[in-house]
């Protein structure tokens, strides 16, 4: 009994350390995504991007963060104070919660104990992500409504309908993947790809739909109708200042990071890389290499997010809805049908 309790405490400490690491990593990556975004924007527009604060402008995120902390906090006079503060907090909380089910690596062996680099190994990982992502809209809605500003309200309503619409196509595109893998646990999905081909080979159409939906769910350009500077003056965070604005901006980058990790895990093999099992190295080294591989994939996806942002102009709202309902959902259904048919055909043989 005592042994049992002692073991549980160690397990708890493991998990707490892991959660702290993942949170710190998400925040760090989000910080440097802002830097990366501005660098990529600069390069694409034949400029240098930030290059004053520190070498290559690497201290720019710290300077920006410091600035946001010291700016004046403004709460509009006629706003709902509680909801106004709840909005950005919720956006940040939800963004940080998603990382719990993503397998960041295989197994580390420390002192004879095996530590899985996944915070929560639940058998409904994909559904959990859906649940959390569907809550992400509350941050936008509450913030936009509580600001008591018509532009914010419009952005909130746009955001809500956009996210709900694209969640459908996203779910349908994932169902095809789940039919293939037969598991909702992200770790199982990654392990299957480790011993076979990556899922992108089986599900190119599904991946494309998922990618477009991921852009829409993160409200990134070309689907950033919730911000739409040219028509809504910045949208749902129009009335926000100081670190509350920072939270909203940060949440967007964390969402990008997590959806990159998710796409890498679901379609591009996660922490596995070709020749992973034939290296002949110790488990820990292979695990760390695997984490490196996952990180490289994530950075590639983050670059894609930025690259698209500085290439494609924003959709009009009716075009957005048309794409979601008239193109992506039928395509996803079609993809599901084809996948199901092929699986049946293969089982018949």
């Amino acid at each position: 009994m005592i042994m049992q309790i002692a073991f549980d405490y160690i397990f708890l400490i493991d998990k707490i350390v892991l959660i702290a690491c993942v949170l710190a990593l998400s925040l760090l990556v989000a910080m440097y995504s802002t830097w990366g975004e501005r660098k990529v924007a600069g390069w694409i527009q034949d400029r240098y991007g930030p290059n004053r604060a520190g070498p290559l402008g690497l201290l720019q995120p710290l300077a920006d963060g410091g600035k946001l902390f010291f700016k004046e906090e403004i709460i509009p006079a006629n706003s709902n104070r509680f909801l106004f503060i709840l909005g950005p907090s919720l956006a940040m909380l939800v963004a940080c919660m998603t990382s719990a089910v993503i397998p960041w690596g295989d197994i580390l062996e420390i002192g004879g104990r095996k530590i899985s680099l996944q915070i929560a190994e639940v058998n409904i990982g994909v559904l959990y992500i859906f649940g959390v992502v569907s809550l992400g809209v509350y941050g936008i809605m509450l913030g936009g409504w509580a600001s008591n500003n018509k532009f914010s309200l419009l952005a909130a309503v746009r955001g809500a309908s956009q996210i709900i619409s694209y969640e459908l196509a996203m779910g349908l595109s994932l169902i095809a993947l789940v039919m293939l893998s037969g598991s909702l646990n992200l770790k199982d999905i990654v392990e299957q790809q480790r011993h076979g081909l990556w899922n992108i080979c089986y599900q190119p159409l599904g991946f494309l739909i998922f990618l477009v939906c991921a852009f829409a769910e993160c409200t990134r350009t070309p689907f950033d109708l919730t911000e739409a500077d040219s028509e809504l003056n910045g949208g749902y965070h129009l009335e926000y200042s100081s670190m509350k604005l920072g939270f909203y901006l940060f949440a967007e980058y964390i969402n990008m990071f997590i959806s990159s990790a998710l796409m890498a895990s679901l379609y591009f093999g996660g922490y596995s890389f070709p020749g992973m099992d034939s290296l002949g190295l110790s488990t820990n080294v292979v695990t760390m290499l695997g984490f490196g591989a996952l990180f490289i994939k994530i950075i590639a996806f983050l670059f894609l997010f930025m690259w698209v942002r500085w290439t494609i102009p924003r959709f009009r709202y009716d075009q957005l809805m048309k794409l979601g309902w008239n193109m992506l959902i039928p395509l996803a259904l079609f993809n599901m049908l084809i996948t199901g048919g092929l699986i049946l055909w293969q089982q018949g043989h």
Binding site: V40, W43, I44, Q45, D46, R47, Y48, V308, I312
Partner: protein, 167 residues
């Protein structure tokens, strides 16, 4: 209909082909263009370290000239003020006293000479109007200032140092 210029182009109103309607291919084409721009030479001039060279006809801040012996050339004739389209130049003439021959070249000189750099448009008409070669536009520009008064340049700002004494 006859085209007015050879650069005019008819708008293409053909219905979109299937590939164009897919939209995906056009996105990829656009992405390729932006990707190529990542490696282009950057056009930015990193200002404080790097300075863009002025063109040979650049017109900047004014100076008031002296002759070889260090005497002021300006005679306060007012032609520069008359020619100035922005009315930026004001001056007050004064008569040279005996014993001031080493200071002023001719019997009349400018006791006060002011150019408002906020009004000045740096057209260089004053330079062209001057019959005495007294005013020139240089290759510098007026530095920033916190107050409007700081942009009204007087004689002590404009006069070049005496070539003999160096002051």
């Amino acid at each position: 209909m006859q085209a007015l210029t050879d650069r005019s182009k008819m708008v293409d109103r053909k219905p979109m082909t299937f590939v164009e309607r897919l939209y995906l291919w056009n996105i990829i084409k656009g992405m390729r263009i932006t990707f190529a721009h990542l490696f282009r030479k950057k056009v930015t001039v990193k200002f404080p370290e790097q300075k863009r060279a002025f063109s040979p006809v650049f017109r900047g801040l004014h100076i008031l000239n002296r002759d070889e012996e260090g005497r002021e050339r300006c005679t306060a004739c007012g032609l520069c003020a008359v020619s100035c389209p922005a009315e930026a130049i004001t001056m007050e003439g004064a008569e040279r006293k005996p014993g001031e021959e080493h200071l002023y070249r001719e019997e009349k000189y400018a006791a006060k000479y002011e150019i408002n750099m906020l009004r000045c448009i740096f057209c260089g008409f004053c330079e062209e109007a001057c019959p005495k070669d007294a005013i020139y536009l240089t290759e510098t520009f007026a530095p920033a200032n916190y107050k409007r008064e700081g942009f009204i340049y007087g004689k002590d700002d404009l006069l070049i140092p005496d070539p003999k004494t160096g002051k």
